[in-house]
C-alpha cells in the first residue's frame, strides 16, 4: 500500500483546479487519478467556445480551457496518473485503483477530493416506450463520437431535452451536415443557458417544442421515427396531439447525474436534492478529510464556477492536511420558497471570516424576483434578479459582515415582485 497526502479522484476541470490550489496552499504530495488517456475531463469533447469568460476574460474552447489547467498542474510538477480507474474508496481513505501500468493499487490517502463529475441519464431510466433500435444516444455520447472519434451518428436528428448538451449537439450536428428536425422539451421552459438557445436553435431555425415529449420510438433495427406529443400541466401526454417525426437519430439530453458511487462507498452522505454530497462552505463532506467539488457535487452550468469551487476545495484540503482546518458547529442552510439544490447545505461556524458562495437553482422561471437571505427572521441580504430560470445556477455571495448576522440557521428564498 502506498501513501499519499492528497488524492484527487478525477483529472477534469474540477480535479485540476483543486490540485493547483492545493499545491499553491502548500501541499506537495498530490496524486490526481484520471481514468481517461488525457486530463481535461468532459471539456476535451466540448470543442465549442464560450468557456472562460469569467475565469480568464476570454472565450475559449473546452480543450483550450482544460489545457490552461493542465499547464498549471504540469508547471507545478503535480503527479497525474492517467488511464487509472478508481474502484473503491473506504471511509478510512483507502483507495483501490486499477491501471495497465501500475496494476492494482491500494493507496492510503491523508485527504481525498472527489471530482468524478457526472453521467447522463439514459433512455432506459426514463422508460421511453417503443422499440430499442440503433440510433438512440445520449447527447454526450454522440458528442464523443463526433468530436473525438470523428464519426457521425446519423443524419436526421431529433433532440429530446433542451439542456445545454442537447442544444450544443443540435448545432454541432447541423454543422456536420445533419438535419436537426426539432428540440423537444418536456417543460414549458428550456433548461439550458439562454445564449445556447439563441446560438444553437434560433440561429439555425431549429424548432424548440416546449411542453412536448417523445412518447414512442419506431424502428426495428435502426431508428425510423419518433412520436412526439404535447403535455399538459401534469407533464402527461395530451391525447390527440401526437405527431410522428421521421428521423434516424434521437439524442437525449434529459439530465445529468453526479457520479457518487465511490462517494457512497466511502460513506459520504448524499443529498437527494442535488444527488451530490452534503458539504459546508469549504467543500468538506460528512466524512473527515474527504472533500467534493465540481459536477460530482452538483451539476454546474459554467466551468468557471467549477474552477472557483474546486480551488476552494483544494485550499481546504491543504489546510486540513496541515492541521489548520478548524471545524465548528454546523449552521443549517435551508432551501426556502423557490430554491432547489442549495449548496452548501451547512455552514462551518469556525470559518465565517471568509466570503461564502451559495449556489442553487430556482424551481421555475421567475421575472422581477429577489433572492432573500434570512436568519432568525431577520433579512440579511436581498439581491434583485430580473430573470431567474432553472437552466441557470444562481450564486449568492455572503461577505463576512453578512455572515456575522447569521445565528441558528440561514434560509434562502425567492420573492417574486
Amino acid at each position: 500500500m502506498i501513501t499519499k497526502q492528497l488524492c484527487i479522484i478525477g483529472g477534469g476541470p474540477a480535479g485540476l483546479a483543486a490540485a493547483q490550489a492545493a499545491y499553491d496552499a502548500g501541499c506537495r504530495d498530490i496524486l490526481v487519478l484520471e481514468r481517461d488517456c488525457r486530463a481535461g475531463g468532459i471539456l476535451n469533447q466540448c470543442i465549442h467556445n464560450g468557456f472562460g469568460l469569467h475565469r480568464f476574460g476570454e472565450e475559449l474552447t473546452g480543450p483550450e480551457y482544460a489545457q490552461r489547467y493542465v499547464d498549471f498542474v504540469n508547471e507545478r510538477n503535480i503527479e497525474i496518473q492517467l488511464n487509472t480507474m478508481v474502484l473503491d474508496i473506504t471511509d478510512d481513505k483507502i483507495i483501490t485503483a486499477v491501471s495497465q501500468v501500475h496494476g492494482l493499487q491500494q493507496i492510503q490517502a491523508g485527504a481525498i477530493i472527489l471530482a468524478m463529475g457526472c453521467r447522463e441519464r439514459p433512455r432506459g431510466a426514463i422508460g421511453i416506450p417503443g422499440s430499442r433500435p440503433a440510433g438512440i444516444y445520449t447527447a454526450g455520447t454522440a458528442q464523443r463520437f463526433v468530436n473525438l472519434e470523428g464519426q457521425m451518428p446519423g443524419k436526421r436528428v431529433v433532440i429530446l431535452g433542451s439542456g445545454d448538451i442537447g442544444l450544443i449537439m443540435a448545432r454541432r450536428m447541423t454543422f456536420q451536415g445533419a438535419k436537426v428536425l426539432a428540440c423537444v422539451e418536456l417543460m414549458p421552459y428550456s433548461s439550458g443557458l439562454t445564449r445556447n438557445i439563441v446560438q444553437c436553435l434560433d440561429d439555425y431555425d431549429i424548432p424548440l417544442m416546449l411542453s412536448h415529449t417523445v412518447i414512442d420510438i419506431i424502428g426495428k433495427k435502426r431508428l425510423e421515427a419518433v412520436v412526439v406529443a404535447e403535455v399538459g400541466e401534469d407533464r402527461k401526454p395530451i391525447p390527440g396531439t401526437e405527431q410522428t417525426i421521421e428521423c434516424d437519430t434521437l439524442l437525449l439530453s434529459v439530465g445529468l447525474l453526479p457520479e457518487n458511487e465511490l462517494s457512497r462507498a466511502a460513506k459520504v452522505s448524499i443529498d437527494p436534492a442535488t444527488s451530490g454530497a452534503f458539504v459546508d462552505q469549504d467543500l468538506a463532506t460528512t466524512v473527515d478529510g474527504i472533500f467534493a467539488c465540481g459536477n460530482v457535487l452538483h451539476v454546474h452550468d459554467l466551468v468557471d464556477n467549477v474552477s472557483e469551487e474546486s480551488a476552494r476545495a483544494g485550499r481546504t484540503a491543504a489546510a486540513y492536511l496541515a492541521g489548520e482546518h478548524k471545524s465548528g458547529e454546523s449552521i443549517t442552510v435551508t432551501a426556502g420558497k423557490g430554491v432547489r439544490g442549495i449548496v452548501p447545505q451547512r455552514l462551518n461556524s469556525a470559518a465565517m471570516d471568509a466570503d461564502v458562495s451559495v449556489m442553487f437553482r430556482p424551481d421555475r422561471v421567475y421575472k422581477k424576483a429577489a433572492v432573500v437571505v434570512t436568519s432568525n427572521g431577520e433579512e440579511i441580504s436581498r439581491s434583485r434578479k430580473p430573470v431567474l430560470t432553472p437552466g441557470e445556477m444562481v450564486t449568492i455571495k455572503l461577505t463576512p459582515d453578512k455572515l456575522a448576522k447569521i445565528s441558528g440557521g440561514v434560509e434562502f428564498s425567492i420573492e417574486e415582485a
Binding site: 481514468r35 440503433a134 457521425m152 435502426r222
Partner: protein, 486 residues
C-alpha cells in the same frame, strides 16, 4: 460464414433450446450445423426472459412441461458448475395476499408434490418475514420452493453454443430458413446461406417454430406471441430480496414478479399481452406502468428513481399449452421443439439431452470417446467478481485486465476481447453487452459504447460504420465526419 452442402443434423435456431441440443449432439460423431437468423445466439426469447429456473410446481401434472421442468431444474447446479455459468439457488415464493390466494397456494403445493418437486412448503407470519423482510407487510403467506433458482439465460445459451462449437458444431449466423423440403435421405433446407441437405432437422426456431414445422408437416401448428415487459432495477438495491417473488398465478400466467438476478440487479415484470407481430418486442407506456404497479404490490418501497432500464420479450405460446417435442408422425427425422414458453429455460438442459439422445438413436450415431471430445474451456471469472489479489494477478498476466472499459459494471478490455474471441463469439455491440455486461449498467453504455465499437473494429478488422448494435440494419454510425454517405 459459408455453409457446407450436407450435414447429418441441422438445428434451426441458436436460442437456449437449439444450443442445448447442439451441445449434447456434439458428443456424437455427427456433422452438425446450427442456422441462426440473427447476428448472435439468444437474440429471441432466450435473451429476453426472467432467467428463472422454476422448481416445477406450476405445470399441470403429466405434461411435457412438468416432466422436462423438474428434470431440467435438477440438472442446473452441476451443469452450471461445469460450464462456468453463474447459477444461484435463490429459491422462489408464490405470495398470497388474501384467503382466496392462500387457497391457491395449497393447490400449487399439491401439484408440486405430484410433479416431484422437493422441499416445497407453505411459510407464513414470522417465518415468511424472516426469510424476506422487505416483502410487503400485506402478504399473508407464501409457497416457498427452495429448489428454484436463477441463471443468466443468454449466458447459458452462449456456454452451450461455445461448448458445441468447440466440439465441431458449425454455427452459421445471419442465416434464415425460407423453405424445407422432404428428400429421400432426409431434408433439403433453403436458407440465406444456400441449400443444405440434412438427414435430421431440429426445429428450435422459437417464435417461428410453427412456420418451420408447417414447411414439412401437415399437422399445422400456430404460435401466438405473448409479450412480457420488464423494468430493470439498479443493482444498488441488490440484497433487498433473496428469492424470486411471484404473485399468486391467474389464468393469464405467473403474473408480475420481482426477482433478483445473478447480476445483482432486480427485475420487475413481466406483463402478459397477446401481440400480433412475433417481432414486436416494443415496450409500451401501459405495459411499463402495469409492470411497475404490479411490482409495487410485492415491494411497496420500489421507486421510479431506482429503475435503470426496460426490455420486453415474446413468449412462443401454442394452443394446448404444452411443449411439442419430437417427430411429427408425417416427418420422420424432423425433431420439433415447438411452443417452448415458460418453463422453457428451466427445461432446456433436459430437452437438449433428450432430443440429442433421440437423434443419436435415429441416426445410429457413435458417441465420441476420449480425445475426440474437447473439454469445455470456461470463460475467465469476471473481473468484477475477482478479489483484489485475483485482480492484481490477472493484470500481471494480461494487461488487458488493467483497462476498465465499462465503468458501471467494471468490465475490462481483456474480457471484451475474449467475448469476441470465444468459439461463437460476439460480433455486435449487443453481443459484447450480453456476454460481458458492458453497457448494462446505470449509464447504459453512454461511457463504454465508443470503446466497445473501437475494440470490435480492432478484433474483427472492420471500420466503425460497419459495427452494428445487433445485426445488419442496426449500424450505429454513418461514416466519418465529412465523408459520410448522403
Amino acid at each position: 460464414m459459408q455453409c457446407g452442402k450436407r450435414y447429418d443434423a441441422v438445428i434451426i435456431g441458436a436460442g437456449v433450446i437449439g444450443s442445448a441440443v447442439a451441445r449434447w449432439l456434439s458428443r456424437y460423431r455427427l456433422s452438425v450445423a446450427v442456422l441462426e437468423k440473427e447476428a448472435e445466439p439468444a437474440m429471441g426469447s432466450s435473451g429476453a426472459n426472467t432467467g428463472l429456473v422454476h422448481a416445477g410446481f406450476d405445470p399441470e401434472p403429466d405434461t411435457l412441461k412438468a416432466k422436462f421442468n423438474v428434470e431440467g431444474a435438477k440438472m442446473f447446479p452441476a451443469l452450471c458448475e461445469e460450464l462456468g455459468v453463474h447459477y444461484e439457488p435463490s429459491g422462489a415464493m408464490v405470495v398470497a395476499f388474501n384467503a382466496e390466494e392462500r387457497a391457491i397456494l395449497d393447490e400449487l403445493l399439491e401439484r408440486g408434490v405430484t410433479n416431484g418437486v422437493e422441499q416445497l412448503r407453505i411459510v407464513e407470519g414470522d417465518e415468511l418475514f424472516a426469510l424476506e423482510p422487505n416483502l410487503s407487510d400485506k402478504a399473508v403467506a407464501a409457497l416457498y420452493a427452495p429448489t428454484a433458482g436463477m441463471v443468466c439465460p443468454y449466458g447459458l445459451t452462449f456456454a452451450f453454443a461455445d461448448d458445441a462449437a468447440g466440439n465441431g458444431v458449425e454455427f452459421i449466423r445471419n442465416c434464415a430458413v425460407s423453405d424445407i423440403k422432404k428428400a429421400d435421405d432426409g431434408y433439403v433446407i433453403t436458407a440465406d446461406c444456400g441449400e443444405i441437405s440434412a438427414s435430421v432437422v431440429v426445429n428450435a426456431a422459437g417464435l417461428y417454430s410453427d412456420v418451420i414445422n408447417n414447411m414439412v408437416s401437415e399437422e399445422k401448428l400456430t404460435i401466438k406471441p405473448n409479450r412480457g415487459e420488464y423494468w430493470i432495477v439498479d443493482k444498488a438495491l441488490a440484497g433487498t430480496f433473496k428469492a424470486s417473488l411471484f404473485r399468486t398465478p391467474t389464468a393469464a400466467g405467473k403474473g408480475i414478479l420481482i426477482t433478483p438476478t445473478v447480476d445483482g440487479t432486480l427485475l420487475a415484470g413481466p406483463t402478459a399481452e397477446n401481440v400480433d407481430d412475433k417481432a414486436d418486442v416494443d415496450t409500451t407506456s401501459a405495459g411499463l406502468d402495469t409492470a411497475f404497479n404490479g411490482a409495487q404490490i410485492l415491494w411497496p418501497k420500489l421507486r421510479r428513481a431506482d429503475l435503470i432500464t426496460t426490455f420486453a420479450g415474446n413468449r412462443a405460446k401454442i394452443a394446448g399449452g404444452d411443449f411439442i417435442i419430437g417427430q411429427p408422425k408425417d416427418a420422420p427425422g424432423f425433431f420439433n421443439a415447438v411452443g417452448v414458453d415458460s418453463p422453457g429455460l428451466s427445461s432446456a438442459p433436459a430437452i437438449g439431452r433428450y432430443l440429442a439422445g433421440e437423434i443419436a438413436e435415429y441416426l445410429d450415431a457413435e458417441p465420441k470417446v476420449g480425445e475426440m471430445l474437447t473439454p469445455y474451456k470456461k470463460p475467465a471469472k469476471p473481473f468484477e467478481r475477482m478479489s483484489n489479489e485475483e485482480r492484481a494477478e490477472a493484470i500481471a498476466a494480461d494487461k488487458g485486465y488493467g483497462r476498465i472499459v465499462c465503468r458501471c459494471e467494471t468490465v475490462t478490455e481483456a474480457e471484451i476481447r475474449d467475448s469476441i474471441r470465444r468459439p461463437v463469439g460476439a460480433r455486435t455491440v449487443d453481443g459484447v453487452k450480453h456476454r460481458t455486461r458492458s453497457g448494462m449498467g446505470r449509464c447504459q453504455g453512454g461511457f463504454c459504447m465508443p470503446v466497445v465499437v473501437d475494440i470490435l473494429c480492432d478484433e474483427l478488422g472492420l471500420s466503425p460504420e460497419e459495427i452494428t448494435k445487433n445485426g445488419a440494419g442496426s449500424e450505429l454510425l454513418i461514416g466519418r465526419i465529412g465523408e459520410e454517405s448522403k
